[in-house]
Subunit: 240 residues, 2 copies
């Protein structure tokens, strides 16, 4: 019954439109991945995007599970982490709006490599790996966006290793603050986009260590009240 199928197609299209609202769409095209695409490639990706929402602490997938999608964050934050055999967990990456994750499964790989959990209420775009692989074969744009995305990602991950191995807790925090404040001199103010415990994990610290790092930065002119952080002198902070 072709008419039936046609109707079905129409219904799913309607669903998609309902779920992929204008707001989501706008966020999506500012994503690190999609923002690089030309109009036709962009349309193809929009076409196969699947929006889904998660509540805080929802687990998206676990390490070792069969993988079918990669993701872009539209709003909220996602924690990527691994467990050791004692059950202790360590964050590998924190993904916020615009970030893409699990895209390293694109060339190959049928299992997720880490656990992923929503750190708060979160909306994501999901892209079927198979279909994107197929698109990348046709659209040079998409292959290029993948390259760009992987490369950016690799850089930040190598930076992370270097920071872990070279810097103390206060230095890591100072570095985070410096890379997240607009001004490049004088006083500045930052509002953390997420809980401190999440920042701690991102920096490879226990929450207590982050607290102590903040309080040790007080002498460098850093004042913390809730999620807002005042820096009296950005240049002074660079000396840490």
């Amino acid at each position: 019954m072709p008419g039936y199928h046609y109707g079905w197609g129409a219904v799913t299209t309607v669903n998609k439109i309902l779920r992929l609202n204008t707001r989501d769409k706008n966020t999506l095209l500012r994503t690190s991945f999609l923002s690089q695409l030309g109009p036709t490639a962009m349309a193809s990706m929009m076409e196969i995007a699947n929006i889904s929402t998660y509540e805080a602490r929802d687990v998206l997938f676990r390490e070792g599970e069969p993988s079918d999608c990669f993701y872009s964050v539209l709003s909220g934050y996602v924690r990527l982490y691994r467990l050791n055999k004692d059950g202790r967990e360590a964050d590998i990456r924190i993904c916020g709006p615009g970030d893409t994750f699990a895209e390293c499964l694109l060339p190959m790989g049928d299992k997720y490599l880490y656990n992923a959990q929503a750190a708060e209420n979160t909306t994501l775009a999901r892209f079927d790996l198979q279909r994107v692989r197929a698109l990348a074969e046709q659209e040079k744009d998409i292959a290029k966006a993948i390259i760009r995305c992987l490369s950016d990602h690799l850089r930040t991950t190598m930076d992370c290793i270097a920071n872990d191995r070279l810097q103390t807790a206060p230095q890591r925090v100072a570095h985070y603050l410096l890379t997240h404040c607009a001004t490049d001199g004088g006083p500045a103010s930052i509002r953390l986009p997420f809980q401190k415990s999440l920042l701690a994990g991102k920096l490879g610290l226990a929450p207590e260590a982050l607290s102590r790092a903040f309080s040790s930065l007080r002498r460098a002119g850093v004042t913390v009240r809730g999620r807002t952080i005042q820096i009296s002198d950005v240049n002074a902070l660079r000396q840490i």
Copy 2:
């Protein structure tokens, strides 16, 4: 003097042929990057490959220097590392035969992101970034190889973060041994391909810490004599 220039060109061509000998060529096509290419793409890459050799401790490039090439290791080992402002250095990656590095500059970037130093006598293939960018535009194969290479690289780098954050020194060493011995049970023997100090850096440890880790693994049936390591029971080692 055109004749003079021509003569010069001829000399460098001869040099190239001399330097890209059959042995190098064979190693090159087993490289993680080139091994994935079809015959025409392979030929193009061979065409622009530039072989160069370095002695132990030679610095290939420094962080922040203008970048023109990425590299594949044919023989020997290269240390990629960063410095903190006190001059202390931390390894980000150790590259051995078949490994490719600085390839994350391909989509974009005109400065090297870390220091690179030959850890021993080393021969490398160098590829001009501009020319490979151009090739990637034409040959889909090359774009795919880049994607694959970046993806592999990203995986191992994320693994590295997880290991750094989750595992103690003896666990890291045990993990290294387990991933580098062929057998999956019973006794095994490994020969380190490089100095212990290099392994220490690779695992994010000071050389002394590696020593202590080895000696703490004695009770797990690990015997170290020079570069050869005996493991009495691989399964026992997994319990660490």
